[in-house]
Structure formats: C-alpha cells, structure tokens
C-alpha cells in the first residue's frame, strides 16, 4: 500500500512540476515577446525616420522631387514606404512638402510592426544666383553661328515650355558687342515683375542682349569658385569627394556619364590638351566646370540632343567653342579673350532655367535649401 501511495505522490508531484514548468516557459516567452515587440517597434520607428531623411536628401538634390505613389526602400531589415506631396503647414502656404514615411519591420511576417514619421519641409522658392545675369554670361566678344537657338526665357529642366515673364537676358556680356551670325536666334526676357519675353529671333531684340555690363563689385570672376562666391578650391574639393555622383578628372576620357553633382575637368595648361572635345554626345546635370590654372581650358564641340542627351544645370568654363548641346540653366564663360564662335554650328537649343540652376546649386549647398519646419510622430 505504501508503495502505491509513493507512486501516486511522485506522479502527482511530477504532474504539478510539469504544469509549473509550463507556466515558467509561458512567462519566459511573454518576456521575450515583450522585448521583441519593443525592439521591433523601435526598429520600425528608425526605419520611418530614415525614410524621412532619405526623402529630404532627394529634395535637396532635386527641388522638384515628389512621390505621389509610395517610394519603397528596403533597409535595416525592413521597408520604408515614403510619400512626398505638396502641402501647407501653419503659415507655410506654398513651397511646402509633406513627407509621410511608414517604417515596417519584418514585413509580411507575423512579427510585422510599423511606425510612422511625418515631416513638413519648406523647399524655398527658386532664387537665381546673383551672378547669373543671363542664359549666356560672357566676359569678352563672342559669336553665335549656325542654327543655334539661345532662349533666355525661363523653362523647367528638360522642358521646352516657357514660364512666362520669369526669364532673363539671352546674353549678358562685359564686351561691347555680340555677333549673331548664320541663322542663330536669340531670345530672352527683359527682367521685371513680370519680365517682358522676347521669342528667339534673328536679329534678336536688342533689349535682351545686355552689352557693356559691369559685374557688381567690379572685376568679372576669373575662377569657377569666384563665380559662386566660394573660397578658392571649394568646388574642386567637393568634386573630389565624389558626393552625389561628382567627378574630378584631369583626363576627360575618364569621365563617366551621365554627369551628376559637380563635374570638374581640370585640363593641362598647354595646348592641344588644354582643349577638351568630348567624344560623342553628353548627358548630365548639376555643375560642369572646365578650368585650369592658366585660365585657358576650353571645351569644344559639346554635343547632345535631348531627350537622350543634353545638360541641365550650370556650366562654367574658361573658354568655349562650338557649343551644340541642348542645354537648360545658365552658362558662364570666364575668359576676357575668347576664341570666339562659341555657339552653334548645328541645331542646339540653349534654354535659361531657374529650376535647373536651383537644382544644381542645391547639390552644392548640401541641405541648406530644404528646411524641416516640423516633425510629427504619431
């Protein structure tokens, strides 16, 4: 009898212990689940915030960027789904975007957790750098030939539509004349509020070719950095970092297309290597600089027809001959002694574009353009 009792007691204890162990396991699982849940939530939050930051970065590089359908990015073991839309926020009624980022941790699993970050950013109005007086800014006598069209009326990048009254001179030069040869046409906008547009014509209306001009402060800029008002060497240093696809080369054959960020070509100081003739057509955006210490770096036969090729942004070169590319933005030729015949032997279109310049400057100024005005995390 005592043996049976012992067996019953032992069996009872084993059963009781098993139940307790099961409960311990359940508690442990709950603790781990609680921890995992907290971790997943934090990760989702980090992803959401990173999504906002990624969108801000895109806005810095591209003023016009919007994502009305979700931009999805896989990162940090999860996924960010980002919308960038026009919005208003308090007193900010225009030039404001709303960045709505959902961070999803472990998407598509039972452990999926999500969190949201919302940021309102002010994307400043287009401000044209004060040194860009026209579509083509010259420091000496020059010539347009062939069928080139130089249009100082305002356009959006890669777009042929004219933004009425917002453009600038077609030509701005310190010289006493600008030769308009062949069938070349020049148009532009006489600045004002709004400005008065003149379609490209041959001969051009003299009011959109500004002759005998003087740079504010006197001497015309002699280097790319002085054009932008930066300390000497800034643009080269930035290009060398490779940020945003920037390139710095002394041998132009090593360039890769499309050009992005700052494309800085420093040519040898003696000919013929001081002249760069790109082989084939060119495509790119941002800031294109052709310069050397002797101030005689020349770009020759720059070709490219949109939409496959072309350039959007700001080009600064010591000298230029035969510019035949479809171009949006502004162009600065630094030399007071140009070889002449800078523009056109073909059918190229040069178009003034505030937005193209803004986008180009936005790359350089690295975030100073787009401002976060509020950040909300539900």
């Amino acid at each position: 009898m005592s043996g049976r009792a012992l067996i019953i007691v032992v069996t009872g204890i084993i059963i009781t212990t098993s139940i307790i162990l099961y409960n311990i396991g359940t508690s442990s699982t709950k603790i781990v689940q609680n921890l995992n849940d907290y971790y997943s939530h934090q990760s989702a939050r980090n992803i959401a915030q990173s999504g906002v930051n990624l969108a801000i970065r895109r806005l810095v590089n591209d003023y016009t960027y919007r994502a009305t359908t979700p931009w999805t990015v896989d990162m940090l073991g999860g996924r960010a789904s980002i919308l960038v839309t026009n919005a208003t926020f308090d007193t900010f009624k225009v030039n404001t975007v709303r960045i709505y980022s959902i961070g999803i941790e472990d998407p598509g699993t039972t452990l999926q957790r999500s969190d949201t970050s919302i940021a309102y950013a002010w994307v400043p109005p287009i401000v044209v750098p004060t040194w860009t007086k026209a579509l083509v800014n010259l420091n000496g006598r020059n010539t347009a030939t062939g069928n080139i069209e130089i249009d100082g009326r305002d356009h959006d990048p890669w777009n042929t539509a004219v933004n009425a009254g917002q453009g600038n001179y077609g030509i701005w030069t310190t010289a006493d004349t600008f030769y308009q040869a062949g069938s070349s046409t020049v148009g532009g906008t006489v600045p004002g509020t709004p400005g008065t547009d003149f379609a490209p014509a041959h001969p051009a209306d003299p009011s959109i070719i500004a002759l005998n001009q003087t740079y504010p402060g006197g001497a015309a800029p002699a280097t790319p950095d002085s054009v932008f008002g930066y300390g000497e060497g800034t643009l080269k240093a930035l290009a060398k970092t490779g940020f945003g696809g920037s390139q710095y080369v002394t041998d132009p054959s090593r360039l890769t297309q499309p050009f992005k960020g700052i494309t800085y070509v420093e040519l040898p100081t003696s000919g013929p290597a001081s002249t760069w003739s790109p082989s084939g057509s060119v495509k790119g955006s941002g800031i294109l600089i052709v310069h050397n210490s002797a101030h005689n770096a020349t770009i020759n036969n720059l070709n490219g027809d949109a939409p496959t090729y072309g350039f959007s942004g700001i080009m600064v070169t010591d000298d230029a001959t035969h510019i035949n590319i479809d171009f949006w933005g502004a162009l600065v030729i630094l030399t007071p002694n140009p070889q002449g015949n800078a523009f056109g032997t073909g059918q190229a279109h040069l178009r003034y574009s505030r937005r193209a310049m803004q986008n180009a400057i936005g790359v350089v100024q690295n975030g100073s353009q787009t401002k976060i005005i509020a950040w909300y995390e539900p």
Partner: protein, 210 residues
C-alpha cells in the same frame, strides 16, 4: 530480518526521493513566481516608456520657434513640463502642455516601500496617476553638441538651449518576492533580491527642438 532491512531501506530511499521532489517542486514554484513578477515588471516598464515616448516625440511640434514661450517650460531632475501639439482631438494646430513628475503620494498602497507614483498632467486636466512600481525617475538635460546642463531646475533663460533629454526609469514589482536566496542576485539590477526590477534609459533628441 532481511524483510525489515528491505522495508527500512525502501522507506529511507523513498523518503529521500520524496523530499527531493518536494524541494524541487518548491524551487520550481518559486521560480515560476519570480518569472511572473519579472514579466509583469517588464510589461509595466514598456508601458511607461511607450507613454513617455509618445509625448516626448511630439515635443515642440507646432511650437513657434523664437516665440515668447519655449518648448520646454520647466525642467528639473524629476519634473518636466513641455509644449507641443500632442493631441489632435482638441483641434489640429492647438499647442498642448504636458507635465511629468513623481511623488510619493499614494505609493503606500503597495507593499514596496521604494516605489513612487508617476503623474502625467495634460493641459488643465487632473493628473493621471500611474502606479507601476516606479522607483527611479530621473531626467537629464543636454544642450547643443550634447553638452550636459547640470544645474537643475534649469533656469528660464537656459530652457531654450535644451536640445535633448535623457530619461532614466527604474521599476520594481509592487509586491515582494519571498526569495530566500538573498545572497544571489536573481535579476534585479538594484541588488534587491526581494523585488523583481528592470531599468531603462533613453536620450530623446526631439526633432522639433533642433
């Protein structure tokens, strides 16, 4: 004679086995209790942190920079009062005021003599009292570049320079675990083996105060 020996041997061995099982069962039960307390403490901790994070993340939202009122209105080592559009139910765009502080009022309701009550006061409503076994609630303030602001309460002139806030929260179980292994630390970071505990700290860098 042999039968008596067998019987005595059986009783002794059976008794030892029985005692072992009883002791084992006791330990298991104690562990189960401890584990349950730990689970509760952890859950309480994450609840507190989620409440705190919910508000802290909105600090400064819609508060006009450069206005007469700063985002953080009062900053002490155990009390903080700040502004932000926390609640859209009272109208989006309305800046709210929230305050967190701790005191001992009402903490005597629990058997843990160390715990305090965390209060959350939202606008002019009566404070919400949280009895979650809070034994440590400390706030640290930092200015630009992470420089600590050590003088508390922070002076009114310095409030606008606060750029980040570190919260330190310690929680213990409200009731005692009758643990006889006092020499062993069984998961209480405060070295008190009679209560289950958990510790959390986090530095907030509210986006709207940058």
């Amino acid at each position: 004679m042999n039968q008596i020996h067998d019987l005595l041997g059986s009783i002794i061995i059976g008794g030892i086995v029985l005692l072992m099982l009883v002791a084992f069962n006791g330990n298991i039960m104690e562990s189960a209790g401890t584990q349950t307390f730990r689970a509760i403490v952890q859950k309480n901790l994450t609840s507190v942190t989620e409440i705190l994070e919910f508000d802290m993340r909105k600090m400064g939202f819609r508060v006009q920079a450069g206005g007469s009122d700063t985002t953080i209105c009062y900053a002490d080592s155990n009390r903080i009062r700040f502004r932000g559009d926390l609640d859209t139910t009272n109208g989006a765009g309305t800046v709210d005021m929230v305050e967190y502080y701790v005191d001992n009022a009402g903490a005597g309701a629990t058997s843990n003599p160390n715990d305090k009550v965390l209060h959350r006061k939202f606008n002019n409503a009566a404070p919400v009292n949280m009895y979650l076994g809070l034994i440590n609630f400390k706030i640290y303030y930092y200015g630009a570049n992470g420089a600590p602001i050590t003088a508390t309460p922070v002076t009114a002139a310095t409030l606008s320079t606060i750029k980040s806030v570190k919260l330190v929260v310690g929680i213990e179980s409200k009731d005692r675990i009758f643990d006889n292994r006092r020499g062993q630390r069984i998961g209480n970071p405060f070295n008190d083996t009679t209560y289950a505990g958990a510790y959390w700290e986090r530095t907030f860098k509210p986006q709207n105060t940058r």
